[in-house]
Every structure is written in structure tokens, then in C-alpha cells.
Symmetry: C2
Subunit: 308 residues, 2 copies
Amino acid sequence: MSKLLAVGTVAYDAIETPFGKTDKILGGSGTFVGLAASQFGVKTGVVSVVGGDFLPSYIDMMNNKGINTDGIEVVKEGKTFFWSGKYHNDMNSRDTLITELNVLEHFTPVVPTEFKDAGIVMLGNLHPLTQASVLDQMTERPKLVVLDTMNFWMDIALDDLHTVLKRVDVITINDEEARQLSGEYSLVNAAKKIHEMGPKYVVIKKGEHGALLFNEGKMFFAPALPLAEVFDPTGAGDTFAGGFCGYLAKTEDISFENMKNGIIYGSNLASFCVEKFGTQRMEELTKDEVQARLQAFKELTQFDIELS
Amino acid sequence: MSKLLAVGTVAYDAIETPFGKTDKILGGSGTFVGLAASQFGVKTGVVSVVGGDFLPSYIDMMNNKGINTDGIEVVKEGKTFFWSGKYHNDMNSRDTLITELNVLEHFTPVVPTEFKDAGIVMLGNLHPLTQASVLDQMTERPKLVVLDTMNFWMDIALDDLHTVLKRVDVITINDEEARQLSGEYSLVNAAKKIHEMGPKYVVIKKGEHGALLFNEGKMFFAPALPLAEVFDPTGAGDTFAGGFCGYLAKTEDISFENMKNGIIYGSNLASFCVEKFGTQRMEELTKDEVQARLQAFKELTQFDIELS
């Protein structure tokens, strides 16, 4: 089993969906990645920053899930990163109502000594220079570096993004971002161009339309599980990435064939994440539920045709 | 092997895509369904109507593919149904430039005696009363009735559509149409409501995002094959339906498990259809190419996780 280091936000979210509305609840990419990875019992360290207003009970919950929080800096005089958003009726689009960077504005990640030799590093959606600074702190080259990014960094820090991409094995990105980064409309061609930027593996997230994994001409596709109700999509993408990394850390096998399984586990966990507000569903999720849903994914996708 | 009866349009299309432009070429739902089904060597009869301007060489081509055209009425003094459209750069949306119904306006399908006992009937996208009139001509209840429809008929003939749906086993419909017909946004819930209208099987086509098969709580998903270039999407949905019906007719097995294979073959054939203008790719397609692509679909979707 490899150690997993996840750098990302630990945040407060206030969410409104057609199903209801929350006050400030626990959120953040680092949180969702950590909770997803905890399903595999891997040693996961989260590196992030919070303010003095952050509830210690959230830290306790993470620790109880086996998540190492030594890398979560607490800035006593500061306030925790806060995001507020409202989802439209189709749940595929949302408006950001409030973004308060707060302590995130001057965030300098410090990797705890215990995780400087982590085999797998997940670089959450932060400034590319911040992502690079995490890699600089590792005592050896991790077996696998996974990077998430978004159009915002392409707009304001494209050169820095290209520099850090050269040190990355797997990029996770949504379809629109893949098109922006590559200048190609076809996702097959987009993946090819992004390969040339560094990452040998390109994961393109298409939300309710599933996810594609590309690796030098090979392709794999995992659908999202069709659900009667999507309650709150917040964190689904990070949960997907956390499931992917957690499974690879557990199995210590970073072959393309095993990454297929990682993509399926990522989709599996993401399908739970959206069933309740925020982290609630992921906090109560059991291994039996995950295994039962794996069976549902098999029934959804596996077929048996004899080649004639 | 069952006989397959396909009712639909045999048409002239003029198509413009970012890759080029055609004069009047062969098109129509009946044509694409027939060409797809011909890959399985099943006895397929197409019922349609054309004008005196329709090239006999097109009829010859269909006959050479083993398609029975006795049910294609030729109205000598009339003109063939003509559709002209222009695809946008993303290939997912298009503008209809011209629709000339011509001989289709007074089309009364006549089922040839040889196909009145067909095991599988594919009712192409026509007025629901026209679709019903085909079922009325069958000497026995077909083993499987498949119906395609669109929002246009929901707008102008919803009651007639509901009446014919009671006699249908499988409906093929796109995601927006499924939402309109059911009043449900979630496709899971939409399928449930459409089940209650008659069809035990609901196939929801999502274009480049694949297709879903629902059957009383069971689900199966087939992705579209990600392609570097989509040259012309015209006919892809009909080719999908023709592949599905053709495979079921060949195997004479209408179980849910075998329908999964039919959905995969439908996606397989549709992925060829879009590679060239009109029917061109389907006319030259070989069995070996189809088998090789089946292997590509397996690699794209099949995984091997041990349940733990």
C-alpha cells in the first residue's frame, strides 16, 4: 500500500439546490479527496489551510476516518475559504454567489515529513506554482503525480501550468477545459495534444456523461451511474479523483488496466457523493454499499458478445 | 433468424458540415435501418415511398445488400422526400435548411405479403397513425415492435402517439424527447414513466454521450466510440436502431441480456456511419471492420475488478 498525499482546499460551502439550502457546511477539494480515499484504508495526508473559525469537530471526523491532518495549517486570526453557489434545475450548471479566498490567499503548502515520500500525490485545483511547490518538497519522485486544474489557471497562469504539467503523470480535467487547453474540439485529439504537454494519462470528466481515460492511443470509458435524483453535485469531481487515487494507492499498481478499475471506483464513489448535501453521504458510506454499487456498475456496462 | 420489417423514409439529403457539402445524396431512416440490418444477413424489408426522380441505382444497391424493396412504392409523377441541413462546428446541433415532404405527404404504407409475419418490426419516425397502420397489417403479433419517434409528434399528435405506444415493446428516443414525453428531467424517472405508457424497454439515445437501455429497474449503457473526427452525423440514430434490430433478428433472442449486445452493435455501426457523408461508409462497410470495432468497444468498456 502506497501513502497518498492530497493537496487541496478545506473549506466552508453554502449550497442551494432545487432540493434545499444549507448554512456553512464542510467542503473543499482536499476534504472530498481524503474522504473518498479513506474508503480504501490507505494512509492519506491532506495538505491545506483553514482559519480560526474552522470547527475542530471536522478535524476529528477526518482523523476518525484515518485521514492525517498534520498538513492542515490553522491560521488562528484568519477565516476559512468560503464558497457559496446555487445549482439550476438541471443540476448541470450553477452560479457562484460568493467566493471568499480568506486564508487561501496566502497559502503556502507544507508537506509533513511523514508524507514527503508518498507514492501517490494528488495536486488539487490550485495555482500551478503552488502545485509545483508541493512536488519540490518530495524527497523522491512519487510513483504517480495526479493533477487537477481548471480554466481559471489557463486564463491567468498558462505558462506556469505548462511548466508543472511536465512533471505530471495523470491530469484530470473536464471536457470544456480539455478543449481550452488543447485547442481541439474532439476529445480524442485533445487528449493527444495534452499527452504532448507531459501527462501520459489524461482523464476527461464529463459529469453526468461519465469519464474517459486516455493513454497513448488506448481509451477507457466509465459512465456515471444514472440516478433518479441528484441531490447536490458539489464535490463529485474531487470524490471521483480521490477514489481513483485511493484505489491506485491501495493496489500499488499503476498500469493502464488497473487505472480502468480506479476510474470505475471513482465513478462509484462520486455516485454516492451527490446523494446528499456536502460531505454527508461520504461520511456515512460503508464498504458494503460501495461493493453493492460496484455490482451495479458491472451490470450497467459489462456485456458478453462472442466475436464471430 | 427472424424477418425484419422496417418502415421509414427513403429520401434525398443535401448536407453541409465543417468538412464539406453534398448535392442530393441518398438518405432516409428506412435506408439507414436497412443498411445497418444488412450487416447481419437478416431478411429485411423496407416499406417507404419515393418519387419518379429516385435513382434506380439506389434500389439496385439496396437489393445487392439483400434488402427487399418490394414495399418501397414509386410514385412516378411525384418527387422524393428531400431534407437539407447544415451542421454547426460542434456537430451536435444543426439547422434544417429545407424540408420538402413531397410524396411522403400522402404516404400510406403497404406491407408486402412476404413481411406480414415479420418477427421484428421497426416503426421509423412517422405519424403515430401511420405507424399503427403498419401493425394493423401484420397477420400475427410480431415478437418485437420497436418504435422511433420525435418531439414533433408529441407536439401535434400526442394522443395518437399514446395509443400506438400501448402496442410497442421498445421505444427509441433521444434524451430531450424522453424528458418531453415523460415530464421528468432524470432519465431514470423518465424511463419509468414511459414504461407505464406501454414499452417494456426504453432506449434513450444521447448522441456522442452514448445510449441507455432501461427495462423495469434494470439498466444498461453503451458509450459512443470517441472519434478523432465526426464527418457527418446524419443517419447515426437510425443506423443505431437498425443495428439493434438486425442483431436481435439474427439471434432471435429478445432477452434483456441479448438486447445489451444489440445496443453495443447499434453503437458499433453508428460509429462507422458518421465517418463519411450520407450512406457511403455503410455501403462499403465489411464484417471484418465491424468485428474489429467490437473489440475496440470491449477495450473501451470492459474491466475486471474482483468484488472484495
